[in-house]
């Protein structure tokens, strides 16, 4: 079954700053709909009064990654789309994956080493002949 990797979304914004207007509108209108559509994500709304850092949408995932997205001077719809995008992501880092495959056991028959195709007299130690 599908387990949503997004644990919680924290909306950190100030109720008086000008660039947090979209965040305030999002909280008033669209946050409840978002929370209803995504029941396994916990939505925290934490307004901090007074001039503080820029309004941020903080996403925490099940593997521990915390991703901050700036929502300064964004409209309510844009913030909603951002929230949906974060909800559909997993917490893996967004870097170039070098190979699309990975195995823990690459070799079934035993990896090649310089003595695989040589006569076994080189590797096998017979019973040691005792000096009598």
């Amino acid at each position: 079954r599908y387990v949503r990797q997004l644990q919680r979304l924290q909306l950190l914004f100030s109720p008086t700053a000008a660039d947090a207007r979209g965040a305030r509108e999002f909280v008033e209108e669209a946050a409840q709909d978002f929370a209803r559509q995504h029941p396994d994500v916990v939505l925290y709304v934490s307004p901090h009064s007074g001039p503080g850092p820029a309004p941020v949408l903080r996403a925490e995932y099940l593997n521990g990654t915390v991703r901050d997205e700036l929502i300064a001077s964004k409209t309510s719809e844009e913030i909603a789309q951002l929230a949906i995008k974060l909800a559909n992501q997993s917490g893996l880092d967004i870097i170039r994956i070098r190979k699309p495959f990975h195995t823990d056991n690459p070799s079934v028959q035993g990896q090649w080493h310089p003595l695989t195709n040589k006569p076994s007299i080189l590797t096998v130690q017979g019973p040691r002949l005792q000096p009598q």
Binding site: P106, S107, V108, Q109, G110, Q111, W112, T116, N117
Partner: protein, 149 residues
């Protein structure tokens, strides 16, 4: 005095120059010499590095194919076959494995590779018999072609 608009002679100064410079320098951190510290030199080096990396994507394919061919050649020589004989006889026996897979088999599954080399050797012998024997002997078993329709 009521001021309705900002005075027109006040112009805003660039405030995020630091971050614009860091955007470029972050790609130059592993370079050698002053190119990893000085913006003016780093801009040129970073641009050249990006151009070279896009062009190198075409060469990477050639380079990897040559690497696989070298590895397959080494592995088949261990079993007494040369690379052209190995590849051509494998194709004639309708084993269409590409060089990447053959190289991986040679490294991680040596017994499978040995059996593939034996198959190629047997097909080679049958090819010689068919070319030199001329007619009276029946066709070789591994020379039969399977038609998938």
């Amino acid at each position: 005095m009521v001021v309705l608009s900002a005075a027109r002679w006040v112009r805003s100064r660039l405030s995020d120059r630091f971050w614009r410079v860091q955007e470029v320098l972050k790609y130059a951190r592993h370079f050698r010499g002053r190119k990893n510290r000085c913006y003016r030199l780093a801009v040129r080096s970073v641009r050249r590095a990006f151009v070279r990396s896009t062009k190198a994507r075409r060469e990477k394919k050639r380079f990897l194919r040559a690497l696989w061919i070298t590895r397959i050649e080494a592995a088949s020589l261990e079993h007494g076959l040369k690379y052209p004989a190995f590849i051509s006889n494998l194709l004639k026996s309708q084993v269409e494995l590409n060089r990447k897979v053959l190289a991986d088999l040679a490294i991680y599954e040596p017994k499978t590779f040995k059996s593939l080399a034996a198959l190629a050797q047997r097909r080679r012998q049958e090819g010689f018999l068919a070319a030199l024997g001329d007619g009276k002997e029946p066709e070789g078993i591994f020379s039969r072609i399977v038609h998938h329709h």
